[in-house]
């Protein structure tokens, strides 16, 4: 694997198993993440975004099981690691900014202890003084006063808690940060500021970051590349600029036309229908029942995510045929 890839995910499949039924929440997902890059992953609820994030940290809980694939970080497949090795990898190489930052901090433990235990768990051999200094410095970096270290989570506002989570995520300077809807619990004003803070610390660290969410506006401001998930599959991966100017996959096109735009005055369109149940996926392309451009081939053959024109990838027969 070449050195300039921070995380390479190949053919990752995660299933939820209930009784004798198996639901493929993440189905054959492959992508690369480059150092310093921000990759946005968008999709509807239930499209497998959060399952993907948790599986990458091996935090998925039964009935979710990894059914195959690999995730190569620092030259090794982290999905093949045993419990103890995975524990050591978590946070030192791969950290998480959780979805529910409101409840992500232990309510009965001071912030400084919750930050310190992440360092202590990885046996860096730091002295107490050094840990305290590091915590103070990190809090400063995310725009919080030192005094926050002595506080309990209930004494902080939602935005402050999320900043604490950001500071926590970079405490061991990981090479990959996974931010799972980092701002969805915050109001729009705070969202913007927190997102800015997150982007700043990520740049300082030159860490690669996966931002999961469904706020296209936020993605447009933050992400360098955007991956779209639909029914457990990645259907398009494109640099952010070309994604918005020239979306390839019909689903991406519909997504963008459903967004209000400041520049042009046009009718907003909704995507007809709703995402299919993962238990009863339609044959062929999972999107074809809602796709205005669907042809016979879409109903029979599952399209693969293919490279075309430069850095862009899409999983659509039509795009493929046009490109060919």
């Amino acid at each position: 694997m070449s050195q300039d890839i921070a995380l390479q995910v190949n053919n990752l499949r995660v299933s939820y198993v209930t009784g004798d039924q198996e639901v493929k929440a993440v189905d054959d997902v492959t992508f690369s993440l480059y150092p310093g890059e921000r990759l946005g992953i968008v999709g509807e609820s239930g499209s497998g975004k959060t399952t993907l994030a948790l599986a990458l940290m091996k935090l998925h809980k039964p009935p979710a099981y990894i059914r195959g694939g690999e995730a190569i970080l620092d030259g090794g497949d982290i999905l093949a690691l045993d419990r103890e090795a995975m524990r050591q990898t978590r946070w030192s190489k791969l950290s998480l900014i959780p979805q529910g930052s409101m409840n992500s901090l232990n309510p009965v433990v001071k912030i400084k202890h919750q930050m310190a235990d992440a360092i202590e768990a990885h046996e860096r051999g730091w002295t107490r003084g050094r840990i305290a200094k590091h915590i103070g410095e990190l809090l400063g970096r995310v725009g919080l006063p030192d005094s926050v270290a002595e506080m309990y989570p209930h004494e902080l506002s939602g935005g402050m808690k999320q900043r604490v989570c950001i500071a926590l995520a970079i405490i061991l300077e990981p090479s990959v940060i996974i931010a799972d809807e980092p701002t969805s619990a915050l109001d729009v004003v705070v969202q913007r500021v927190v997102m800015q803070t997150l982007n700043d610390v990520q740049e300082q660290l030159n860490a690669a970051m996966i931002i999961i969410g469904h706020d296209m506006g936020l993605m447009a401001q933050s992400a360098d590349r955007l991956a779209v998930m639909y029914a457990g599959k990645m259907v398009e991966v494109s640099p952010i600029g070309s994604f918005f100017s020239d979306p390839q996959h019909p689903y991406s096109q519909l997504l963008i036309s459903s967004l209000p735009s400041a520049e042009e005055k046009r009718e907003l369109t909704a995507i007809p229908g709703s995402q299919p149940s993962l238990l009863e996926l339609p044959p062929g392309c999972a999107f074809h029942p809602r796709c205005p451009l669907a042809v016979e081939r879409c109903r029979q053959e599952i399209p693969l995510l293919r490279d075309f024109s430069g850095a862009r990838r899409a999983a659509c027969h039509l795009v493929e045929e046009q490109g060919a």
Binding site: L59, Q88, W91, S95, N106, A118, Y152
Partner: protein, 321 residues
């Protein structure tokens, strides 16, 4: 608040024994008759009158009430009727160490063991056999402890003759602080303590398991795991630490009701504690003793709840002092 509770409780405490059938002086007379001391007729009436005057029972009820309330608040609990002239406080103080020793220790032991087992039963990475404890704890928590006590006495004391049948120490020994006496007390304490621990451990374990399951679903547990913390740290510092909070409240109440709830254990094991004292006082309608014991029990509940109220903010910073 604390005082309102205490006074209200003391009032009920005054009324209820007086509503119950039976008459303390009558009970004393019974005893005198049994010893063949009473002659009946006028002399008996005189004795009754003298006794009633002595204990203030000839006064109107409201006078008795205010006198009782006033004295109680000064911790003057009066004289026992059936063991006259012994003071109620003296009898209480004599029984107290036994009850505290037996019940407080076994309750705390069962709280600690139950909470730990309960937490383990909910912990997904605990050894598999932990799950097998669930039905066992359910059965145990459904057995009344006096029944378990009787069974234990039958097996260990009667059939196997390993441990004494009852009492707090061997009759004939003089209570003193030396090793022999201490061992004797422990030997006598094992069965009653075991019956309390075994029957209450299930309550703590099942309660803890329920809270623990909820806590394990919290986001901060996911983050703790994502941080790469060792399992031990997540279990104690994150999961158990939070799941214990509601348990501690229950512990305060349990400690307060320990003495009253143990009446039957002390009766079964002939253990000279507060419960035993209350049982005997009730049998002889000894108003003052009953009032004294129950007042004391109320006070322990109120005080232990007060203490927990005061230390709770240290355990849970979200509760303001």
């Amino acid at each position: 608040m604390f005082f309102v509770v205490v006074i209200l409780a003391a009032t009920l405490n005054f009324i209820i024994p007086r509503l119950a059938p039976g008459d303390p002086i009558g009970a004393v007379l019974e005893e005198l008759r049994a010893r063949g001391a009473s002659t009946g007729g006028d002399a008996e009436d005189e004795i009754v009158a003298a006794y009633r005057a002595r204990f203030g029972l000839d006064q109107p009820v409201h006078v008795q009430y205010f006198r009782f309330l006033f004295n109680t608040l000064r911790f003057d609990l009066g004289h026992s009727i059936s063991y006259y002239p012994q003071k109620v406080e003296a009898a209480l103080l004599r029984s107290l160490p036994w009850t505290v020793g037996l019940l407080a220790i076994s309750t705390v032991m069962s709280f600690a063991a139950g909470s730990f087992f309960g937490a383990m039963m909910a912990w997904p990475r605990a050894p598999g056999f932990m799950q097998r404890f669930v039905p066992m704890f359910m059965v145990l928590s459904a057995v009344p402890y006096y029944l378990l006590g009787l069974i234990l006495v039958y097996i260990f004391a009667f059939v196997m003759r390993l441990l004494p049948l009852g009492g707090a120490y061997s009759s004939g020994t003089i209570p003193q602080l030396d090793l022999d006496f201490l061992l004797d007390v422990i030997r006598h304490g094992i069965l009653p303590a075991l019956s309390i621990v075994l029957t209450s451990v299930g309550f703590w374990a099942l309660g803890m398991r329920g809270v623990m399951v909820t806590v394990l679903g919290e986001d901060y547990l996911t983050l703790a795991e994502a941080k790469g913390l060792p399992d031990r740290r997540i279990f104690f510092g994150y999961a158990m630490r939070n799941a214990l909070l509601p348990q501690v409240t229950s512990l305060a109440i349990a400690l307060g009701t320990v003495a009253s709830g143990s009446v039957l254990v002390e009766v079964v094991f002939n253990y000279p504690g507060i419960g035993w004292l209350l049982y005997n006082a009730l049998r002889s309608s000894d108003y003052y003793m009953v009032q004294g014991v129950t007042f004391f029990l109320i006070l322990t509940v109120a005080v232990s709840v007060l203490i927990v109220d005061m230390i709770y903010p240290l355990l849970d910073p979200r509760i303001e002092r």
